[in-house]
Point group: C2
Chain length 405, copies 2
C-alpha cells in the first residue's frame, strides 16, 4: 500500500477541535486507500509553556533535561490524535521518538537525525494500524530524548517519509500554500502550484517562512515530494518537488524579502590573501550568520569589504569585528542598520538571461537605489533602504508578471 506522511503543526492541533479537524483529513486519506503516518507538533502554546518552566528554573539549563521536558508536548498530541482517529474508526497508535526509534546525535535541543528504524512501524502497518508520530524528537545513542530544535517537526516528517519510502509528505499548516510573495504585502500574490526544491530553499531562507529549511534540504536529498497545504480548508496546496517534475518552469517563481538586515562596511582593508578569512573566521566563531558579501575592486592594494547580517546579530558582529581590528587592519567601519534585502528566485534563470537587468530596471523606475547586489544560479538579491522594501517587492512582483498564472 502506498504510504503518505501527513504533518500537522501547532496551530493545526491547537485544541481538541483542531485535532478532530485534522483527524478528519487523515481519515479522508485513509478512506482513499493510503497507509498513513501522521506527524504532530505540540498543541500551540504548549512548547512555550514548557520552555518557560525550564527557563524559570535555570537560564543555563542542561539541554538533555530541556529535551525531556519539552518533548512531552508532542507526546501528548500524538496520544490525543491516535485516540481521535480511533474514535473516527481509523485504527491508529502513537509512536514516540524512542519507540520507533528515530535515532539522533547528541546535540540536544538541535539534534540531527541519524536514522529511523521503521521495522516496528512497518510491522504495525501490516496489522492495519496507522501511525501517529510525535514530531520534533528522537532518541540519542545514550538513550535520552533529543529534540530537533524549533520547527523540527517538519524535519521529522520528511525524514520519516524518506525512511518509509512514502509517495509524498503533506505539510498541513495555517497557510494554504507557497505564494509568489507574502500576500500581506502584495495582495496580488498568487499561490504557486508547483515549485522546485531549490526555489523553495531560496524562498524559505529568504523569509517566506512556510517550511523549515532543513526539511526542504532533506526532501530534496531523498526526492520526497512535499505538499504545503492548509489545515483549515480543502483546496490543494503547493507541491514542492524535483525540478524535473515541473513541466513549464517560470523564469522567476517568487519574490522574497528579509526586512531586518544590517550592513557593515570595512573601509580600506588591505587586499591581501587571507583577508576574507581574517574577517569571516571570527564572525563564524561568534555564530554570526553572514548573508551577502561584496568586495569592491582593489585600489592601490586596498579595498572596501561589505557584508550583511541579520539585525539580531548586528551588535555581536560589530563587537567581533572591532575586537579583531588589529588582525584585520581596516581604516573605518561604517554600519547601516536600516536596510532590507529583496530577492527574485526562479530555476528558469539558469536558461534565461536578462533577469537581473529587468530587476534593476524595475527598481530604477521606482527610484529605488540598490546598495549591494549578489547573485546565485537561481536568485538575484539586492539590498535597499528599508523604507523602500515594500515598494521594491511590489514592483518586482508586477515586473515579472507573477500575479498571472
Amino acid at each position: 500500500m502506498a504510504i503518505l506522511v501527513m504533518k500537522f503543526g501547532g496551530t493545526s492541533v491547537a485544541d481538541l477541535d483542531c485535532i478532530h479537524n485534522a483527524a478528519l483529513k487523515v481519515k479522508r486519506e485513509v478512506d482513499a486507500g493510503w497507509q498513513v503516518a501522521v506527524v504532530v507538533s505540540a498543541m500551540s502554546g504548549e512548547t512555550n509553556r514548557l520552555v518557560k518552566l525550564v527557563r524559570d528554573v535555570s537560564t543555563l539549563y542542561d539541554a538533555r533535561e530541556y529535551d525531556a521536558i519539552v518533548a512531552s508536548g508532542e507526546q501528548v498530541t500524538s496520544g490525543l490524535m491516535a485516540l481521535t482517529l480511533q474514535s473516527l474508526g481509523v485504527p491508529a497508535r502513537s509512536w514516540q521518538g524512542w519507540q520507533m526509534p528515530m535515532r539522533t546525535d547528541s546535540s540536544h535541543g538541535a539534534a540531527r537525525i541519524e536514522g529511523i528504524d521503521t521495522d516496528a512501524m512497518l510491522a504495525k502497518f501490516d496489522e492495519g494500524l496507522h501511525a501517529v508520530c510525535a514530531g520534533f524528537q528522537g532518541v540519542s545513542s545514550d538513550n535520552r530524548i533529543a529534540t530537533l530544535g524549533r520547527g523540527g517537526s517538519d524535519t521529522s516528517a520528511v525524514a520519516l517519509a524518506a525512511a518509509l519510502g512514502a509517495e509524498r509528505c503533506d505539510i498541513y499548516t495555517d497557510v494554504d500554500g507557497v505564494y509568489t510573495t507574502d500576500p500581506r504585502l502584495e495582495p496580488d500574490a498568487r499561490k504557486i502550484d508547483r515549485i522546485a526544491f531549490e526555489e523553495m530553499l531560496e524562498l524559505a531562507s529568504q523569509g517566506a517562512k512556510v517550511l523549515q529549511t532543513r526539511s526542504v534540504e532533506l526532501a530534496m536529498r531523498y526526492k520526497v515530494p512535499l505538499q504545503v497545504r492548509s489545515s483549515f480548508s480543502d483546496v490543494p496546496g503547493t507541491i514542492v518537488c524535483d525540478e524535473e517534475e515541473i513541466v513549464e518552469s517560470n523564469v522567476v517563481t517568487g519574490v522574497a524579502f528579509q526586512r531586518e538586515e544590517a550592513k557593515i562596511t570595512l573601509q580600506n582593508v588591505s587586499d591581501r590573501p587571507g583577508i576574507a578569512a581574517a574577517i569571516f573566521g571570527p564572525l563564524a566563531d561568534a555564530n554570526v550568520n553572514v548573508d551577502m558579501i561584496v568586495q569592491n575592486i582593489s585600489d592601490d592594494g586596498r579595498t572596501d569589504m561589505t557584508f550583511t547580517v541579520g539585525a539580531d546579530d548586528f551588535e555581536r558582529a560589530k563587537a567581533t569585528i572591532e575586537a579583531a581590528r588589529d588582525d584585520i587592519g581596516y581604516e573605518g567601519l561604517v554600519a547601516d542598520r536600516d536596510v532590507a534585502k529583496v530577492s527574485v528566485v526562479g530555476i528558469g534563470m539558469r536558461s534565461h538571461t536578462g533577469v537581473a537587468q529587468r530587476m534593476f530596471a524595475a527598481l530604477a523606475e521606482e527610484g529605488v537605489n540598490i546598495q549591494v547586489i549578489t547573485t546565485s544560479e537561481i536568485k538575484v538579491s539586492v539590498l535597499v533602504q528599508r523604507k523602500y522594501m515594500e515598494l521594491a517587492v511590489r514592483s518586482l512582483h508586477a515586473a515579472f508578471g507573477l500575479a498571472e498564472a
Copy 2:
C-alpha cells in the same frame, strides 16, 4: 554509598517553588552522604488536566494512549527537578520509566511492576549522578508506556527502593506522618513514631489515606522501611517498618474509620453448602468490594446473612443481589445506608487479650450500639450508626490511651 529513595507527591511539586523546596530536602540528604534516587509525581492538577483531555476525546479510550498522554506529567516534573537540583549544585539526571527500564505488565492504566533494571542507574551513581525518576510509569513488554494507576508513584518509589537495595524510602507528602487517628476528628490524635507494615496496611485500607496500600504491601514484602513525612516542615515523620524493629509495641496503635458504608442483610437464606458462593460470586463479578461479612446462627436450616459495602458500591450491590435472587433464595433484603465502620488496630493484640472487651465497654458507656463485629489478628472492627462515628472514634482513642506517647 548507602542509597535513599525520596518520593515527592503532587502537592509537594505543585509549582516551581515547591520543586525548589523539595530539591533543598534532597540536597540536605546528599550533603549528609546519601546516594539519592528521587521519585516524583506530576505537578498537582496536571494529571487531572491530561485525563480531562483524554476523556474529552473519548469515553471509551485506548488505555495505551491514555498512558502515553498522562505519563507526560511525571516526565515534565522529573526534568524540572533534575534542573533544579543541578542549579543547587547537586549532579542529577532524569529517568523515564522506559529509560531505566521499569518493566511492567500490559494492564495499561493499572499496570503492575514486573522488574526494574537498575544497571544503567547504578552506573550513573558511580559517576556521581543522583537520579530523578518519573513516578507512576513503566514500559510494557511491547515497548509502550504503562502507568501504574492513581497514586502509583508511591509504588514506583518502593519498588525502586527494593530494586536498588535502598536503606529507606522517604515518602514526602502534605501530612507530617501517620496519626493515631484523623486529627481533624480527634484533636488529641498523636503522630506515631514507628508503626509496623501490617498495622499500616490495616490503617490505610481502613481510611487513613496516607500511603497507597500496594506500596505498603510491596515495602513489607521486600522489607524496605518507609518514612512518611511532610514536604512543608523539617520534623521527622513516621517510620513504617517490620514489626521486629519496633521494640515496644502498643496493644492498640490507632483507630481507623470508614464513614461511608452500607449494610445489606438477606433474611431467611437457606443454610446450605455453597450459599456464600451464590451470594458473593455475583458481587465479585460485578466488581463490588465486600467488606465485613457476618452470618447468624442457623435456625431451622435458615439463616440471615449480613455484609457491608462502600456506599459507592451500594446500588450496584443491591441490583446484583436482586438479579441473583432466584439462585440465592432469600426471603427479604434489608438495607441500611446510614452506617460507618470503626476499627482499632495494633500488633500488640496478638499477645494481649481483652482488647475487644475494652472496646465494647467503651462504646457501651457512650450508648453506642454495635450492629456488626468482625475481628482479625491485629484488628477489631465494629459497624455503628453513622451519627455515632465521631463519638465512637473519640471514645476509643481515649479508652486505649492513644493521646499519650
